[in-house]
Amino acid sequence: VNVYETYRITLCILAVGMAIFSLEQVVARRQFQPGGLSSWDVLSLKRPPKALPWLNRALAPLCDYPGVERLLWLRLASVALILFAGGIPFVFGPAIFIALLTTSVLLYRNSYGTDGSDQMGLIVLVVATVYAGSGFMNSVGVLGLWFICLQVTLAYAAAGISKLFSETWRGGSAMFLIMNTGTYGTRMLAQCLRRSVALQVVSAWGVMGFETLFPLTLLASPPFLYTFLVIAFAFHLGCSLFMGLNSFLWAFASAYPAVLFCYASLH
């Protein structure tokens, strides 16, 4: 399996997600404007890291409005290069680096409203930047793919094991409680879950089972691996449809080529 191509596929999946979210933020630019809920006028008051006391002032041209919108367009440009010129290494490398820089500044700026998909996206970008920075050395690329594979495995396993310790999850009511909220749920699904305790238990244990057992994919037979990846993708698709968490679909799916690469290396 070609390391460079694996990174290209990984970053193309991530780039589609990044393009969608950058455009979503451009559309919702009101939040960044001076009276918005994510105004830099207020966010710049947060304490910068001790070692970088000048950071907020230095980033002001990129974080205030309209600087942040320009930053989003710059990220979109880097994403377009990843998608359409990923086959050219001297374009691919700088595009990844710009995507990483713009994403990092946006995440530093937006202290509120970020989630696990941003974390996964940033990890993939850092690892890809290291690979590009090494001059696309195969050995460095392989280390990075293993790291992405282990992070996504840890993500599912940690979430699954943590749920096993929760009475709310073991009893099944967690699914109803989440789906019952306007922020993360859907009225129709909440209604179905409310009517059926069995559905609550089955769905909660289904999520816990899939997440906890995910690490076994690396050791299992190919059908088991593919089944689990399809389940994982369907899980995120369901979260997009019923919970509005569309960014997780792209961020986590971008890690699956690394899982397939590592699986192929192991077997």
Binding site: L23, G116, W146
Partner: protein, 178 residues
Amino acid sequence: MRYGPLELVILALYIVWFLLSVANQFQRASRSRLAPFLSVLLVPRWTFFAPNPGHSDYFLEYRDHTEDLFSTPWQRVSVLEERTLLGAIWNPNRRQSKLLFDVTQSLQVSALAMEDPEGICVSIPYLLVMNYLDSLPVEPPCTIRQFRVVESYGFFPYKEEHLILRSKGLKLKGVSQG
């Protein structure tokens, strides 16, 4: 595969990063003094609604006063929308609803954690809310705005919604007259 010095350094960094990531999954590490450093070092904490799933919505509400204490009814700032098929791909509202959720939840955490109740007035989430509300139109002759955060229990409430926090009345400075 034989590794040179560069690969060994990168391997060591990935191992340390991964071990820190594993450690950060435990509550003790994620709540320790190291937690801020871990987030700066891009050490993730993967929870996915575990162990305690979010089970409520936080709503921001505001009302306006005149100097002689006439007040308008509470108005809810709502960014929640019905889910659609398209929303699985294109959902510009998501970041805003998550932003409002995080800010209002942070207000709740700050309100519980601060010994001095006045301290919350200079916290970032409080200032974000005031800055946002200050930009919304106001009915003349009102000049003072007050907000509150209400915790509500979903489509099929199993508990009464309750008040988390109520701000003092704040004189509006830059409001547009609606």
